[in-house]
């Protein structure tokens, strides 16, 4: 029980979205939000950086295209040319179907593997769940107590959570630290004393 977190539980995604914006504009950065289903706009509201997964998917797909085209050309025209039905060895139009399939295959596998790795997914570790209802009907906002160690800060966060509709507020110690996120305005997030507005 090393890592302590302050948890605010919500029961509605619209209340959660507003609360996220309001709490951040009051100068407090939540460490993580757990939701039972994707809430559109939540990543923006909590200041998460955009995912770059699709860019990686494009790179993988382009690799697949080049791989398929170059392999087929080299095999059929250079390594072992065989006359089939009098067709030419370098038959690009006939390479299109396989090139397309390999492009899709590379992009899909590459992106999926990248997502699983980046999310730290593993079949070998036991999952530590912040709240069992976070995959059912509760939206859990977690604040890192290491970051907001002063009692003053914690009281303010509790007040903000109450004010913006949290149905339950509690403290929890976790064995494992919650994976850190990259936020858009990370340099601004070092303390609440800046009090910057969130537009």
């Amino acid at each position: 029980m090393k890592h302590k977190y302050l948890l605010g539980l919500f029961d509605d995604e619209e209340i959660l979205l507003t609360a996220t914006e309001k709490i951040r504009s009051a100068g407090y950065q939540m460490h993580e939000i757990y939701t039972p289903f994707p809430v559109h706009g939540l990543d923006k509201a909590m200041g998460l950086q955009d995912s770059r997964l699709h860019t990686f998917g494009f790179i993988c797909g382009a690799t697949g295209t080049l791989f398929a085209l170059s392999m087929m050309s080299l095999i059929a025209a250079v390594d072992w040319p065989i006359i089939v039905g009098g067709k030419q060895f370098l038959a690009f139009p006939a390479y299109v179907p396989i090139t397309f399939e390999v492009t899709v295959l590379f992009a899909s596998i590459g992106m999926t593997v990248a997502m699983y790795l980046r999310c730290g997914f593993s079949v070998f570790t036991d999952t530590e769940v912040v709240d069992l209802r976070a995959t059912d009907d509760r939206f859990v906002m977690a604040f890192c107590e290491k970051r907001y160690s002063e009692a003053d800060d914690q009281n303010k966060i509790v007040d903000l959570l109450k004010q913006h509709g949290a149905v339950e507020i509690k403290e929890r110690g976790l064995d494992n630290e919650i994976q850190p996120n990259l936020f858009v305005m990370d340099e601004d997030d070092h303390g609440h004393d800046h009090g910057h507005g969130h537009h």
Partner: protein, 489 residues
């Protein structure tokens, strides 16, 4: 007031005023507790049928392809018919989960999980046929291009049969990744409801999903790109299957209409299979609030559209055969309708062209009994279609002395029936172990498509309508102002 809105002209997709917790309960309860007697009996029967299939496959491999009814003229028959039929059935899952995802069709959430599972099981059944049809299954790896000790013998990359290898294996892989990644949040839901050994297993399967904002962000990014990739993929798969025939010079096969005609047929038969199974499953598993009459009607509309495309394709083929002036082409089509296999041609015509036309009528489209009966007709009709294309085109070739009549042997029938057993066994296990409806996705549409919310939208619409009437009757404010008011709600 909520910022969600959807027109009251639309039908609710979740009925029974469900809360988020109700959705979890209703769907997860099917995987919990002891399985009922009905399920055990069903699993026993389908497992037995699957066993028959496995034995027939083993017999084929042991004795060779000679145990089938194939002959010199008909070299492809039930094996490839079944292959194309199963692949086609898989296409509904990808259409629902990928194409309807891109079109933002909310009704897909009720049926996408089960349909995607059917895709995977159907492709497993389909993939068996090319493998056992090779005769020497132990040489199956020859079809993959890899550096080898056979004097570096490579496959022929300009052959449609090799394109098929790539298409089917890519299709299976991408469908599996899409389906499983979509399952992660729901497996995590099951994990958090269970204890002990059960929790341990679901914890392994959930890959440690916790539903953080970052996970969802990546999940949505991946879903969108996979849907974008799976959409052209699903069209390519059945196009390439049709190339197996269309790039040959056999009369009846050598037609340019094949790719779109095969794709439409695949979606047509896939939806029929989804309906056949889900009409039963929704009642047995108590999912009527999630797979509603509105879902069934939407699927019937897809069946009507694709069935009509298939009908147009049949007639186009026929017309073009005679318009072409090619005597072999003309004979092939005359032989289909009036030759020894006339029964399969007319079976296909009545099941695929006439049967779906009943869905022009709304009461029939919304009738469960009619939908169930027609879906079975369509399943049969689409099997006949592939049989007609393959066997009827082959059995009378250019030399009348080698004309023949093909009939299947018990081994071929056993393998076909066996694949149905394999499919049903996998589907029944899936129903008991994983959520049949995508829990997270249904929750995400609750506020726009749940009946309790839609009743509120209807009140907004009603008020809006009254204001509009006042304006039309000569009121003061402008229409743009009214539309603006609604946006604020």
């Amino acid at each position: 007031m909520s910022h969600y809105y959807s027109s009251s002209v639309r039908e609710p997709l979740i009925t029974g005023s469900k809360s988020y917790h109700d959705i979890t309960e209703d769907i997860a309860k099917n995987t919990e507790g002891t399985p009922g007697l009905k399920w055990i009996i069903a699993l026993g029967i389908s497992g037995f049928v699957a066993l028959i299939g496995v034995l027939c496959i083993a017999w084929t491999i042991w004795k060779g392809i000679g145990v089938w009814g194939l002959n010199k003229t008909v070299g492809w028959a039930w094996d490839i018919t079944n292959f194309v039929w199963w692949i086609g059935i898989g296409h509904a899952g990808t259409l629902i989960s990928a194409i309807l995802f891109l079109f933002r069709q909310k009704w897909r959430t009720g049926v996408n999980r089960a349909a995607e599972a059917m895709t995977i099981f159907a492709v497993i059944c389909a993939g068996l046929f090319p493998l056992i049809h090779m005769g020497r299954i132990w040489d199956a790896m020859f079809i993959f291009p890899y550096p080898n000790s056979r004097g570096i013998l490579w496959p022929n990359f300009i052959s449609p049969l090799l394109w098929d290898v790539f298409a089917i294996s890519t299709y299976f892989t991408v469908s599996l990744l899409f389906w499983y990644t979509g399952l992660l949040p729901d497996i995590a839901t099951l994990r958090d409801r269970s204890k002990g050994m059960r929790r341990w297993i679901y914890d392994r399967l959930s890959f440690g999903w916790t539903g953080t904002a970052k996970q969802w962000q990546r999940f949505e990014d991946l879903s969108l790109v996979l849907a974008g990739l799976a959409t052209p993929l699903v069209l390519s798969v059945h196009s390439i299957v049709s190339f197996d025939f269309a790039t040959s010079v056999i009369p009846g096969w050598h037609t340019t209409i094949f790719p779109p005609y095969f794709v439409a047929g695949a979606i047509f038969s896939g939806f029929a299979m989804v309906l056949t199974l889900m009409l039963i499953a929704r009642v047995i598993m108590g999912l009527e609030d999630y797979i509603t009459i509105a879902h069934i009607e939407s699927m019937n509309k897809v069946i009507l559209l694709t069935g009509s495309i298939v009908g147009v394709a049949y007639i186009t083929e026929l017309v073009i055969a005679f318009y072409s002036g090619n005597i072999y082409e003309m004979y092939a089509f005359k032989n289909r309708a009036l030759g020894p296999y006339w029964w399969s041609y007319w079976g296909m015509m009545s099941c695929n062209v006439i049967a779906p036309q009943f869905f022009w009528f709304r009461p029939l489209r919304r009738s469960i009994v009619v939908t169930f009966i027609l879906s079975i007709f369509i399943n049969i009709g689409m099997w006949f279609e592939r049989f007609v294309i393959i066997v009827t085109s082959l059995h009378r070739d250019y030399i009348p002395s080698s004309w023949s009549y093909y009939s299947p042997t018990w081994v071929e029938v056993g393998i076909y029936v066996g694949t149905m057993g394999i499919f049903m066994t996998l589907f029944l296990i899936f129903c008991r172990t994983l959520p049949v409806v995508a829990i997270a996705e249904v929750k995400a549409i609750l506020k726009t498509s749940g009946d309790q919310y839609m009743n509120e939208f209807a009140k907004v619409d009603e008020a809006d309508y009254k204001v509009r009437e006042q304006i039309l009757a000569g009121g003061g404010s402008n229409v743009a102002g009214v539309a603006h008011d609604k946006d604020d709600e």
